[in-house]
Amino acid sequence: MEATVLDSWVLAEFETPDVLVDATRQMREKGFQGMDTYSPYPLHGGSEALGLPPSKVPFIALCGGLTGLTTALAMQTWMNTYDYPLNIGGRPLLSLPAWVPITFELSVLFAAFGIFFGLLGLSRLPQPYHPVFESDAFRTASTHGFWLSVPHATGQDAAAVIDQLKALGATQVTVVTGEKE
């Protein structure tokens, strides 16, 4: 019963980012899947070691930017040529060069929104609870610890995985079990 509603992870802490990246790569080559790394700052080579596919964030940012571009051009065209046309010094009503600053700013703003919210959405953040938060030792992931999580079938013996992680240089290994997301 438990195995269908509970998830387990083997958590391993490593001393340096290099050891973590190396261990991640070797664990992936052994066939472990669904792993994740945790570090206090961006990890060089972390995504490559995990074998992650290319990020979708740039595409979302591009869509955001193009949305901003069209919104700004449409808004200014509608306002200046139809809704409230004003003749200023004989300039054309459809004065594209004068609209570029607002178009640029709105493109940047929407692209930034795309990056910010796209990243939050793809990372499923904010996440107020996750079973691994139960582990007190795991708190070092936000200060000085370099952690690797390996999904593990609930209820089965994790000794083999633990041994492999220790052989790769893990300083401490724990198993965490909690409700499925």
Partner: protein
């Protein structure tokens, strides 16, 4: 040798330059002779003007790139950047071509009457009449006269040649001696010379390009010229690095991360060029005052309109979106294709600045001296740079940070 053996062989002083240098000098000499013959042998005012403007275009194109390389070296020293050290010798070699332009400026001065209405005895002066003529006389009195112009040119070339000689000299000395103290000296010298480099390239662009239309002025013009030249210099650096494979060449040890950075800098300076170009245009458009508007009026209406639109798409929109791709920036060959394209469009940009002063509302025309002058000045400049590269290492082998540069990974 196989590529793998080449990569692991010890790096010696490079001796392979003559096979490129000799054809470059030959082509350069032929191009220069043809262009000058085109100017002096013809009596037609258009042909003379076209030859003079073609030569000016070629001159500002190549000298701009050389000075941009100099500024690049100084900026990277100022920032204490380490990733690019493996590429630095190529930048220094590009900057080392500066002294040859002291000779290459002479034809510009000889043909100045056909370029600049303010030059004494210029036949173009007659077209400026009435109040405009008085206004121009006022400018000529203090600044746009031949004596002060020559003095300014002496200042430009003294500053550039001195900076290029100093920075490259210290770097070559380090090849023999090594040591951190030479790096420290380069890093102290660079921020000190940068303001002078900025001022000289600004005033040089005023003298060479802006004063073709002496009644028009734009204070951002120097930055515009610098932006295009700086981008072109990164393009040449990318092409050189891609092709520097073989015995004693540094391309064997460059990593994809270096190319990624070069691609990112090309993207950044494509955007920078567009930003500066648009800033200049928008201020003139918004203000719309008779003194400034005609320069753009000539270019954005009538026969020059298609070219202005093409420049916006060709120099900004297309390369910007192409260079956004991360995969492309990691592939040296493909990145070099973009670099060649940008080098071509930079020439179109300079044509768009220069040629309307010759043909006015008649629009773009083609004259054969455009090709000969471009190859002439380019051949001599490239040949001279290669001559300086001869029997030197292709990268700063004893720089204390060279190992860090070779190990560089993506941040």
């Amino acid at each position: 040798m196989t590529p793998a053996a080449e990569a692991s062989a010890p790096l010696e002083r490079y001796t392979g330059t003559p096979k490129l240098m000799v054809p470059a000098f030959g082509l350069g000499a032929l191009g220069l002779l043809a262009t000058l013959a085109g100017f002096f042998a013809s009596s037609d005012a258009y042909a003379k003007g076209a030859a003079a403007h073609s030569y000016l275009l070629a001159f500002v194109y190549w000298v701009g790139i050389s000075v941009a390389f100099l500024i690049m070296v100084a900026i990277f020293h100022t920032a204490k950047a380490k990733w690019l050290i493996v590429l630095r010798r190529t930048m220094e070699t590009g900057a080392s071509a500066v002294p040859v332009f002291i000779l290459l400026i002479i034809p510009v001065i000889l043909m100045a009457g056909y370029l600049y209405p303010w030059w004494p005895g210029s036949p173009l002066r007659a077209a400026i009449t009435g109040l405009e003529s008085e206004h121009l006389s006022h400018k000529e009195h203090g600044y746009l006269n031949w004596k002060f112009t020559l003095v300014r040119h002496v200042i430009y070339f003294v500053v550039w040649a001195f900076a290029a000689w100093k920075l490259r000299g210290l770097s070559l000395k380090q090849d023999a001696e090594g040591g951190l103290d030479l790096t420290v000296r380069m890093r102290r010298f660079s921020p000190g010379i940068l303001p002078f480099l900025a001022l000289t390239i600004t005033f040089a662009s005023f003298d060479w390009l802006m004063s073709l239309t002496p009644l028009w002025q734009s204070t951002i013009f120097g930055v515009y010229y610098f932006a295009g030249s700086f981008l072109a210099a990164f393009c040449i650096l990318t092409i050189a690095t891609t092709n520097a494979r073989g015995k004693d060449l540094y391309g064997n040890v460059v990593t994809p991360a270096h190319f990624h950075n070069l691609g990112k800098l090309m993207l950044a300076f494509t955007a920078f060029w567009a930003y500066i170009a648009f800033s200049q245009f928008m201020l003139v458009w918004i203000a719309n005052i008779p003194e400034e508007a005609p320069w753009y009026g000539l270019r954005i209406f009538g026969a020059w309109k298609p070219m202005s639109i093409a420049l916006f798409f060709g120099h900004f929109v297309l390369p910007f979106f192409v260079l956004l791709s991360r995969n492309l920036k990691l592939q040296p060959r493909k990145l070099s294709v973009v670099a060649v394209y940008l080098l071509a469009i930079h020439a179109v940009d300079l044509y768009w600045l220069i040629w309307p002063a010759l043909t006015g509302t008649n629009g773009p025309t083609f004259h054969w001296t455009l090709i000969t002058a471009f190859l002439g000045v380019g051949g001599i400049a490239v040949g001279f740079a290669l001559m300086n590269a001869r029997n030197n290492y292709t990268m700063p082998v004893k720089d204390p940070y060279i190992a860090e540069s070779l190990r560089y990974v993506q941040p």
